[in-house]
């Protein structure tokens, strides 16, 4: 039996080699410190929050990058002159209030005194003037800054903004992250590149660290002018895969996750340890037509397309029921929206008739869309609807970069499906860029509308006072309807899932959250 002994010895040798190798690799990976997840910790005593976002911000300079997920972070680091409340109104924040001249061309803001930046220096009106000028210079919020003529100091503590034309969305704009208030001294000494990675403001949270690709940690600003926020440490953790995000929140590895798939909503609602909130998005998913390309220059063809599409199919087929019929290009949550808008109801016969009048029987169109599972589904439903009316659509799915170049930069397309998100909750933020002749092409008017009358109506609506706004936008919507410039399809929902114990969560149409309002 000696041989058996030897073979077991060999086997043991083999196993021990494997174990040693395994230990070597494990020690490389720096095991031992098993912090693990935050499972079973008592939420009542918690002062930390782990916030899961779908993509890592590539910059935290709110003036130069319009990525919604980064705005939740920049709102925590910076303050704005005004702050959007959960009920849709605006509350003074770094401003103490405002006055506007009779003609609506001059806004004056007394700046709050005694507010300190994270580096200990005091906020002055000069910093505010510098910041707004930086916003204008960077040019990212061109639609919001277009009306601003000059920004100056009225006196030591008061800032004056002079407009070249009245602009009803001024206060709303000033509450957007683009108008975050920075320290002049810090920005000029550090330089633009540093602002992207090492933001410093007056906000409720300070930047602690940013480990690229892994997490961003924020610490409560104990000297915040409104009082220190209730949650002391916030970890922002990117989780790209939505299924993983769902498992992570069910497993309590994260406390907040935005926009889970519609097909998972039921699961989350049935989980007592999670809270689920949803709201209508501040965007309308629409079918856009390039009216410079034949045969879409013919209003009859555009009307036919409007009649041919059945929105109910899209809501049921692509959105699992979580969406509403879009009546116009203005999302219902935006200021200036009116429910009383003309709509092309689904009518295949009318569509066919209009096509015949325009001289087409079998029409072929190419639809370019971005690589996105939901949009692809919507596109297929639209394709089927249009086919019934005798319009044959070829779908071309494109990678995001190529798509943007074709649709926005080059205007090389016939029809496409996409949505234009509001940057602040005003109709202006959605329709101006999409239909004004000055915004032709890359800046948003991909329909290529150059009509003077619509541009005039848009200018009038932009300058309208709160009372006139709804009526002014009604005229805009009527014009878009008459010319069938666009097919508004559906308003999607945005959702947020949180640990059920987290308080202060009110669903936001833009998917941007004020972390200082959260508490356990």
């Amino acid at each position: 039996m000696k041989s058996k002994e030897k073979s077991t010895k060999n086997f043991k040798k083999y196993i021990s080699f494997i174990l040693i190798a395994a230990i070597a690799v494990m020690s490389l990976s720096g095991c031992g410190s098993s912090t693990g997840s935050t499972n079973d910790s008592d939420t009542e005593n918690r002062t930390d929050l782990i916030y899961g976002i779908a993509s890592e911000p590539n910059s935290l300079d709110p003036m130069t990058f319009a990525m919604m997920s980064s705005f939740t972070v920049t709102y925590a680091l910076y303050d704005t002159l005004f702050e959007l409340q959960d009920d849709g109104s605006y509350k003074p924040c770094l401003a103490e209030g405002y006055e506007v001249s009779e003609d609506g061309l001059e806004y004056t803001f007394p700046i709050r005194q005694g507010v300190k930046f994270h580096d200990g220096s005091e906020l002055t009106a000069k910093d505010v003037v510098f910041s707004i000028n930086r916003t204008i210079e960077k040019g990212w919020a061109a639609d919001m800054t277009a009306a601003i003529d000059t920004v100056s100091l009225a006196d030591e503590n008061t800032v004056k903004i002079t407009l070249s034309r009245p602009f009803g969305g001024m206060i709303g704009s000033l509450a957007s992250p683009f108008f975050s208030i920075m320290s002049e001294n810090y920005v000029t000494t550090k330089g633009d590149d540093a602002i992207k990675r090492e933001p410093m403001g007056t906000g409720p949270y300070k930047m602690k660290e940013w480990i690229a690709g892994d997490h961003i940690t924020l610490l409560a600003n104990e000297e915040y002018f409104e009082g220190a926020p209730p949650i002391k440490t916030i970890t922002i953790k990117p989780i790209v895969d939505k299924n993983t995000g769902l498992i992570a929140i069910e497993n309590k590895e994260i406390d907040v996750y935005l926009n889970i798939n519609n097909s998972d909503i039921e699961t989350v609602k049935n989980n007592e340890e999670l809270a689920f909130y949803s709201a209508d998005q501040a965007a309308v998913l629409s079918l856009n037509m390039n009216i410079e390309s034949k045969p879409l220059d013919d209003v009859k063809v555009r009307k036919a397309i409007n009649y041919a599409i059945n929105r109910d199919n899209i809501i049921a087929g692509a959105l699992e029921g979580y969406g509403t019929f879009a009546k116009s290009a203005i999302p219902p949550v935006c200021d200036g929206y009116s429910d009383d808008a003309p709509v092309y109801e689904h009518d295949v016969e009318k569509a066919k008739q209009l096509l015949a009048e325009a001289g087409y029987t079998n029409l072929s169109l190419t639809m370019k869309i971005k690589e996105d599972a939901k949009i692809q589904k919507v596109a297929q439903i639209v394709q089927a609807d249009l086919k019934e009316a005798g319009i044959y659509v070829t779908i071309e799915v494109m990678e995001a970069g190529a798509y943007n170049t074709d649709i926005y930069a080059n205007g090389n397309f016939q029809i496409t499906i996409g949505s234009w998100s509001a940057m602040f909750l005003d109709a202006y933020s959605v329709v101006y860029s999409q239909f004004h002749k000055d915004c032709y092409g890359p800046t948003g008017n991909i329909t290529h509308v150059v009509a003077e009358d619509l541009s005039e109506l848009l200018d009038k609506a932009a300058q309208a006072s709160e009372e006139e706004k709804v009526e002014a936008y009604k005229a805009v919507i009527q014009n878009i309807y008459d010319n069938a410039y666009q097919v508004p399809l559906v308003v999607e929902q945005t959702n947020i899932t949180t640990n059920a114990a987290l308080k202060g969560v009110v669903p936001n149409p833009l998917g941007v959250y004020m972390l200082k309002r959260f508490s356990w």
Partner: protein, 309 residues
Amino acid sequence: MGKYILRRLLMMFWVVLGISFIIFTIMNLTPGNPAQLILGQSATPEQIAKLEHELGLDSPFFVRYFNFIKDALKGDFGKSYQTRLPVVKEIIVRFPTTFKLSSISMLIAMTIGIPIGVISAIRQYSFVDAASMIAALLFASIPSFVLGLILMLVFSLNLKWFPATGISSWKSYVLPAITLSTFTMATLVRMTRSTMLEVLRQDFIRTSRAKGATEKSVILRHSLRNALLPIVTVIGVDFGYLLGGTVVIESVFAISGMGTLLINAIRMKDTPTVMATVIFVTLAYSFVNLLVDIAYAFIDPRIKSQYKG
């Protein structure tokens, strides 16, 4: 031997240079403008032109490639278009995670795959053989993101044994490493089985049995050692697959590694990041394969003699 290694290292340089040119060309030819992507949909042509100038995108292709190589030889791979951070810095933070993940997966695949392959070969057509072949086929076919999600559901959500996301301790490596290892494991099982079967049928095996060697010695010393050559080759080739395969696994398990870096960089047409990432992975892969070739010499003395001269 030293001469051989030196020659291989020199060859590696040309391989990397070739790959860098191919990737640079592809990045240049694919549609989409990085400046447009960074600035977003609503950027004006002036903003785009300004940024293109800042990024050096307005100079001709060959000038850009030449400048890239010139700087890269000095170890400077440029700054990411996206974050404006030096690319090398981002890679150094992430490469260890990806490398560890791939190595652990390879180790798992080897420790499980090779013994099962050997057992299947000696017990050909037995129940164990059939079961392991079916399992191998299953694991080779199942997409890794599906397996990853299943493992997460079972071991994170239900059993709470391991975390589902991120890298915080050794526990975090378990699920992604297992997910990543299955394909290689399946390949190794099948490879080991077939080469073992081939070797077992050869004359010298019969001779060693005839001279009275124990069965274990016949299997482990005589057969396995001879069967090891193709297995080691598969290990070398599959290591590259593992390094690349982490792209999917990292995004499923929300791990910050080379895979997520590369995929984001490709989406945003961030050429410096793509270039540096691919070059790093190429180097890692080439080194592993060099090690494999050196290992041949130790496994098979016949090859060692070829390396001389």
